[in-house]
Amino acid sequence: MPVISVTSPKGGVGKTTTATLLSTILAERGISVILIDADPNGAVSLWAARGAGVPKNLQVVPAGAPNEFVRQIDASAATAAYVVVDLEGRAGQMAAYATALSDFVIIPTQGSQLDAEQTVRHIQLIKDQERVSRRRIPFAVIFTRTSAAVRPTGQAFIQASFAEDGIPTFATQIADREAYRAIFSFGGTLAGLKDSGARVGKLSSAIENADAFVDELLQQVAA
């Protein structure tokens, strides 16, 4: 039932990676998931079209036109335990609908000042949507494509600024890892890569990282 949207006003910040990791890991834990591809680039649909290794209880569907999108989310929420929506990289009507209907909104961002400023503007949009919908829309920022080894000074400064402004952020970061690119090259899931014996660097660390993100999300959804 919970609807989780992955949204950002900026492209290339890791929305599709975040949505795909979340959906595949939930599905591999035995949860039925519908992943709605609302990004015109269709990266999730292309990943699913590779066929190999998509978990059976994960259904990837393209988003309908804006006036059908709401029905689609209703129908998905009635049939799957989790609905994940991967949105396009700009604030618009689809993102606004998805945000309004969501139980939780994930905002991926990279650790640059430019990304941070756009993220803050996007959060203001969500806050304004909260006002008109008269309900709290839980959200959190996740830092993506970070270095697994070091934390640059600029990113640390942005994290401190977010904390000071009371902007919720995930403790887990989605690091820039070869394994996360590999699932889009070869199809399937991280666990599938492991089972296939593919030679992908730091695969175990990538799986631990993604699992930690999903665990943290589930805690936040339950909170």
């Binding site: 919970p2 834990r29 006036n67 999108f69 335990a81 209907l101 949009l125 008109v132 919908s133």
Partner: protein, 104 residues
């Protein structure tokens, strides 16, 4: 009879006029599409429950299952559907990946 009286639909949260007001205030200038129609509730003739499913269970489980069916006036297939969704959500939360911790 509602198919799902205890669960709100996500679209129940939607305030289209308010959403448009917010987007306009944030500089979104593209024309809006028509307001989305509310989702119709599925009637019993379109449930998608087409497959027979028989099993053995303890008398206690059967009685409790039947009690839920009676309480909500749900057919057994719909009760099973809700039960599976609820269990999946619970398992997601407590991360009982193999489900064995729920065994008595």
């Amino acid at each position: 009879m509602s198919q799902n009286p205890e669960r709100a639909r996500p679209s129940d949260r939607l305030n289209v006029a308010g959403m448009r007001e917010v987007l306009t205030a944030h500089g979104y200038s593209e024309p809006f599409t028509a307001a989305p129609a509310p989702s119709p509730l599925l009637g019993p003739w379109r449930t998608g429950r087409t497959q027979q499913f028989n099993m053995k269970a303890s008398p206690d489980t059967v009685q409790r299952f039947a009690a839920i069916c009676r309480a909500y006036n749900w057919p057994s297939g719909l009760t099973l559907q809700h039960a599976v969704l609820a269990l999946e959500e619970k398992l997601a939360q407590v991360r009982l990946t193999k489900g064995r911790d729920l065994e008595p």
